[in-house]
Amino acid sequence: MESNAFQEGLVERLSWLIWLRWLAVIGALLTVLFVRQGLKFNLPGFPLYVIILALFIYNIVFFFLLIRVKKKSLAWVNKIANSQISLDLLCLAALIHFSGGIENPFIFYFIFHMIIASILLSRRHSFLQAAFGVLLFSLVVILEYLGVFPHYCLRGFIISCQYHNPLYLGGVSFVFVSTLFIAVYLATSISNRLRQREKVLEQANEQLRAKDRIKSEYVLHVSHDIKEHLAAIQGCLEPVVAKITGELNPKQLDLIQRAVHRTGKLMFYVKALLEITRIKLSRQIKMEYFSFGATLSEAISGVTGKAQEKNITLHSVLEPSIDKIRGSKEHIQETLTNLLANSVKYTPRNGKISIVVQDKGNRILVAISDNGIGIPQIELPRIFEEFYRASNAKEVERDGTGLGLSIAKQIIEIHHGKIWVESEEGKGSTFHIELPK
C-alpha cells in the first residue's frame, strides 16, 4: 500500500521531470540562438544544436515509455529516473563544454539536477548522481586543460581565457563540487523527512479507514437488529389495524394507527441507515451496461403521481446520443428518484422541475432543477453530510432521515462520478451529477 502510493508519486514526478525537460529544450535553444546570433559569440553551432536535439529525442522516448508501460515496478521506475538524470547531466556537461567550459556560468545549473535527483531518488543514488556530475565536470575541465578537448572561449563575456589557470580552476572546482554535495545533502534531508511524514500520514489514514469500517460494521449490526424487531412490531400491528383480528373502537383504532405510522417512519429511517452503511462497507457494486434514458423515465414515473398532486410540471431533455452507461441500474435509478422526490417535496404547488441530460463524450451530465424553496447559502457545504437537513427543509417536513443526499453521494462516488448542488434560497436548486459512461 505504502510503496504503491510512493511509486505513484514517483511516476507523477517523472512526468513532471519530462515536462521540465521540454522547457529546458526551449530554454537551451533560445539561449544558444541569442548567444550566437544576438551576442555574436563564436561558439560552434552544430554540436550545440545536436545536443539539444538529443535532449528533445530522448525526452520523447521517456514520454512514451511512461505512457506505454502499464505495469510499472518500483525497480523500473527507479531505473528510468536514474537514466533520465544521468542523461541530463551528460547533456549539460556536453553543452557546457561547447560553450566555454569552466568559464560558462551555466555550470551551476548542475545544482538543479542534484535537487531533482534528491526529490526522485534515494539518498545513496542522489550522491552517486552528484559524483557522476562531478566526474563529468572534472573531465571537461581536465581534458580542456590538457588540450585533449578544444576550449571554446567566451570572449566578450570574460576578459581572458581561464581554462589553463590552475588557481581559477581549483577555486571554481572547489566551490562547484562542494555546492553540488551540499545541495544533495540538504535536499535529500528535506525530501527524506517529507517522505517519512507522507508515510506516517498514509498509515494514519489507513488506521482511520479501518476505524471507520469498524464503526460502520457496528452501525450495520445495530440497525439490522433494530430492523428485525421493528419488522415484528409492524407485522403484529398491521393485522390489527386492518381489522383482521376484529373490530376496534375509534379510540383504539386511532392509537394503533399512530403506532403503525411511527413504526413505519422508524422503519424507513433504519432502512436508509442500513443502506448507506452497506454501500460504505461494500465500496463495490455490481456494474453492468444499462439504458440511462429508460432508467431516467422509470425514475420520473416514480414521482409523477406526487408531482401531479401538487400540479408541478416535470420536463426532461435527454440528448439522443446518450444510450447505455456502465453502472448499477438499481442504484442510479434510486439516486435519480431520490433527487426528483426531493425536488417535488420542496417545490411549492404549480412549480416546475426540469431534468437535462447532456452527452460529454465519455461522461454524461445530469442537471435536475426546480424552483422550490432552495437551500440557504450557508448550509450548502453541509447538505451531503449524513443526517444533515437544511433548516428550511425541516419546516416543510418535520421528520426526514437526512440520509437521502448522503446515500446519493456515496452511490455516485462509487461510480467514480461527481454530485454537487447550486441553490439560492427561495428561488430553487439544481443538482448536478456527472457520471462516466
Binding site: K227, E228, A231, A232, Q234, G235, C236, E238, P239, A242, I244, T245, L274, E275, R278, S282, I285, K286, E330
Partner: protein, 132 residues
C-alpha cells in the same frame, strides 16, 4: 368443496410467524409452521404445502438460501413456489458465501422485504395459488 390451501412458514421469529398466521388464517389458508430451516425441510416432505414462505437468516445467516436450494432440487417439492422474506437489496448487501443474482443459486419465486403488510401478503399468496 374446495380443499384448503396449505402454506408453510419457515421462520425463527415467533412474532412474525404469529402475525402472518393470523392474516393467512383469516383468508382460510391452513398454516403450518417450522421454526428453523431443518424443521422446515422436514415439514415440506410431511405436510406437502402448496406454498412456502421462507426466512433467510435462521440457524445461519444464509440458511434460507440452503433450504430454498434443497426444496427446488428435490423432484417431489420443486414445483412448490417459494416466497423469500428478504429485500432484494439485502441479497447483494449482506456477506453471503456466493455471488447473488444467480438463478440457480437462488431458486426462489419472489422476494419480499420484512414485514409484509397484510394486503401484500394475501396478494402474493393468492397470486401463486390461484392457478393451482
Amino acid at each position: 368443496m374446495e380443499t384448503q390451501r396449505k402454506v408453510l412458514i419457515i421462520d425463527d421469529d415467533p412474532d412474525i410467524v404469529e402475525a402472518m398466521k393470523v392474516v393467512l388464517e383469516s383468508k382460510k389458508y391452513q398454516v403450518v409452521v417450522a421454526k428453523n430451516g431443518e424443521e422446515g425441510l422436514k415439514q415440506v416432505k410431511l405436510a406437502k404445502p402448496d406454498l412456502v414462505i421462507l426466512d433467510v437468516m435462521m440457524e445461519t445467516s444464509d440458511k434460507g438460501f440452503d433450504v430454498a436450494r434443497q426444496i427446488k432440487s428435490d423432484k417431489n417439492s420443486k414445483e412448490i413456489p417459494i416466497i423469500m422474506l428478504t429485500a432484494i437489496k439485502e441479497k447483494t448487501g449482506l456477506d453471503f458465501k456466493n455471488e447473488a443474482g444467480d438463478e440457480v443459486w437462488l431458486p426462489v419465486d419472489d422476494y419480499c422485504d420484512k414485514p409484509l403488510n397484510p394486503e401484500q401478503l394475501i396478494l402474493k399468496v393468492e397470486l401463486f395459488l390461484k392457478d393451482k
